[in-house]
């Protein structure tokens, strides 16, 4: 490792960034230890929230983990067709004058304060979904488990999933769009030379950038699962584990947001919440690293 004075001078600063990250990891671990000692892995595998000042506390955040995963998966399932289609449109079909505005619009959506998504979600999206999607589906198709929960207030996994989809699609799209744009002309021309229709040619090209698409979706998943404010306003905040889309539930981030305010009067609640946070930390880390690695590997392969 080459060392010069400059590098030496900058090193402490850079280590601060590493330091903060490591410190966060340490804090989460040590703060979660009490609940691990008390309950072992039951904190993650059960759905219980028994708070008590007299010693019989028991916490299990399975409902929150389930909810986080479920809503993020819904979000990604919706985001896949939307982000791919949108990316293709911008690169292949959009008239020149539209391209830039569309990209600017995506960037605005990716950066928009999430509370604005939240307030719109709570006051506009939820009533809309309840009236036009959930109630009709429930009336006619409640025999299907997915639709079997009565839509009482509209706060549900579905509402959270749709809102998250709206929030992360622009983000996934940006990654996919870049990859799609950078496919060498050679391949495009080749496809058309072979007489493929646009549809068929696009399918081939997409196959070429599969890793990028996967990376984009992984990163979008990572973002969806970490979202707090917008989700907590539409998911219902109930300790539920239910396959139905219309049921209310909890996500790890909204659990922390809701329960932390009164956690300290109970001996083990702060620890339980930190353990939930640790789970989120790990899931987020794994997903994001996987996404970044895929992106990097793809760009190396290209070069």
């Amino acid at each position: 490792m080459k060392m010069d004075r400059f590098k030496l001078a900058l090193l402490p600063v850079t280590s601060v960034v590493f330091g903060i990250f490591l410190l966060m990891l340490i804090v989460y671990f040590t703060a979660s230890l009490p609940i691990f000692e008390k309950e072992g892995l039951a904190i993650y595998t059960t759905n219980v929230w028994k708070a008590s000042e007299t010693g019989q506390e028991f916490y299990g955040v399975l409902a929150a983990i389930y909810g986080s995963l479920y809503t993020s998966i819904i979000a990604i399932l919706i985001a896949i067709p939307l982000s791919i289609g949108f990316a293709i449109f911008i690169v292949d079909y959009a008239p020149k004058r539209l391209k830039e505005p569309l990209i600017v619009a995506t960037d605005i959506m990716a950066g928009l304060p999430t509370i604005l998504y939240g307030i719109w979600g709570a006051f506009v999206l939820v009533p809309f979904l309840k009236k036009f999607v959930m109630e009709p589906l429930y009336e006619h198709f409640s025999f299907i488990p997915l639709f079997s929960y009565p839509p009482l207030t509209g706060y549900s996994y579905l509402s959270a999933g749709v809102l998250l989809a709206i929030m992360v699609t622009p983000f996934a799209c940006a990654i996919i769009r870049e990859a799609y744009r950078m496919i060498p002309q050679v391949y495009r021309e080749g496809a058309f030379a072979l007489g493929l229709t646009r549809f068929e040619a696009t399918k081939v090209l997409l196959g070429y950038i599969k890793p990028s698409i996967l990376a984009g979706l992984l990163l979008a998943f990572g973002r969806a699962i970490g979202e707090t404010v917008a989700v907590s306003l539409v998911v219902g905040n109930t300790f539920n584990i239910n396959p139905s889309l219309f049921a209310p539930g909890y996500t790890i981030s909204s659990l922390i947001a809701n329960q932390f305010g009164n956690a300290f009067i109970y001996k083990y609640m702060p620890s339980a919440l930190f353990a939930a946070g640790l789970a989120l930390f790990v899931i987020g880390l794994v997903v994001n690293v996987a996404g970044l690695l895929l992106l990097r590997r793809w760009s190396y392969a290209k070069a």
């Binding site: 590098k7 804090v27 949108f86 509370i115 709570a122 707090t228 404010v229 306003l233 932390f260």
Partner: protein, 277 residues
């Protein structure tokens, strides 16, 4: 048959575009449609007054606006030096192990759940200090902001053609002069973009402030070791209560927030080719 598939495909692509972009316009529309009447009704008082009791009119969101401003400035002051220097390091030593690791870490932190940052700062600062504070809120925001500024700094530095660097070194300048005097100057537009993007982002953040800033909406700034409010935080708290006037205030505050965000974001975005969010 193939032609039909092709046609359907085009239809799907257009539909996907519309469905993705439509919500943005609808959100903008709703915020305007619900927020403008509130602002008109409240007038200037809405921007300078304080939060009223439930059911007692609109009052104002003055403390929240000042709070957002103070928090953003503090966060920038705290995070900027470290972020820029880290970006410089990453750009200057792209092939070293530490350099690569730094870049990866920064990219990871950009996507990190912000609630976890807030919780972390609560544990290390709020509890020992014994109070929610502007300092804690700003620290949480600084941690959220750092990766963005660092990555933009690095990118802008990397984009400078190497002949400038080589020329400067050929002239016999020391490394630190080359970097700080020459390169940073050349990259200053990109770095500034990064800073503004970071500011736009943290001005709209809620989760990092939930357990750090505390929230204070009837009193203005009382010092950096005391609780402080912010516009996104205020909206979050108001939306969850049933009072009509609070919902109106929430929409009005949303409009203000949106305008602030667009005012910072649009100009930079329109003058720069690529934005990494």
């Amino acid at each position: 048959m193939r032609k039909l598939k092709d046609r359907l495909f085009v239809a799907y692509v257009v539909l996907a575009t519309v469905l993705t972009i439509l919500p943005l316009f609808h959100i903008l529309y709703c915020v305007f449609a619900n927020g403008v009447p509130v602002l008109l009704k409240g007038g200037l008082e809405f921007l300078t007054g304080t939060l009223p009791a439930p059911g007692e009119g609109l009052g104002g969101i003055g403390p929240a606006i000042v709070g957002t401003f103070v928090l953003t400035v503090l966060a920038t002051l705290m995070g900027l030096p470290i972020a820029v220097l880290t970006g410089v390091f990453s750009a200057e030593y792209p092939n070293s192990v530490i350099g690569k690791a730094t870049r990866t870490l920064l990219l990871i932190m950009m996507e990190f759940p912000t609630i976890l940052v807030g919780l972390f700062v609560m544990d290390i600062l709020v509890i020992p200090m014994g109070s929610y504070s502007a300092l804690a809120g700003a620290l949480a925001l600084a941690i959220v902001m750092m990766p963005y500024v660092a990555v933009y700094t690095e990118q802008s530095l990397r984009e400078i053609p190497s002949r400038y660097r080589e020329g400067a070194f050929a002239l016999g300048l020391r490394r630190r002069t080359v970097v700080f005097r020459i390169m940073m100057n050349l990259a200053r537009k990109g770095i500034l973009t990064g800073i503004l993007i970071g500011i736009a982002k943290v001005a709209g953040e809620t989760a990092p402030l939930l357990f750090t800033a505390g929230g204070s909406y009837t009193v203005y700034f009382q010092g950096i070791d005391r609780p402080i409010g912010a516009i996104p935080l205020l909206i979050y708290q108001l939306v969850q209560q049933p009072y009509e006037n609070y919902h109106e205030i929430a929409w009005g505050a949303s409009l203000v927030l949106m305008l602030i965000f667009l005012a910072i974001f649009l100009p930079i975005r329109l003058s720069v080719k690529e934005v990494k969010l």
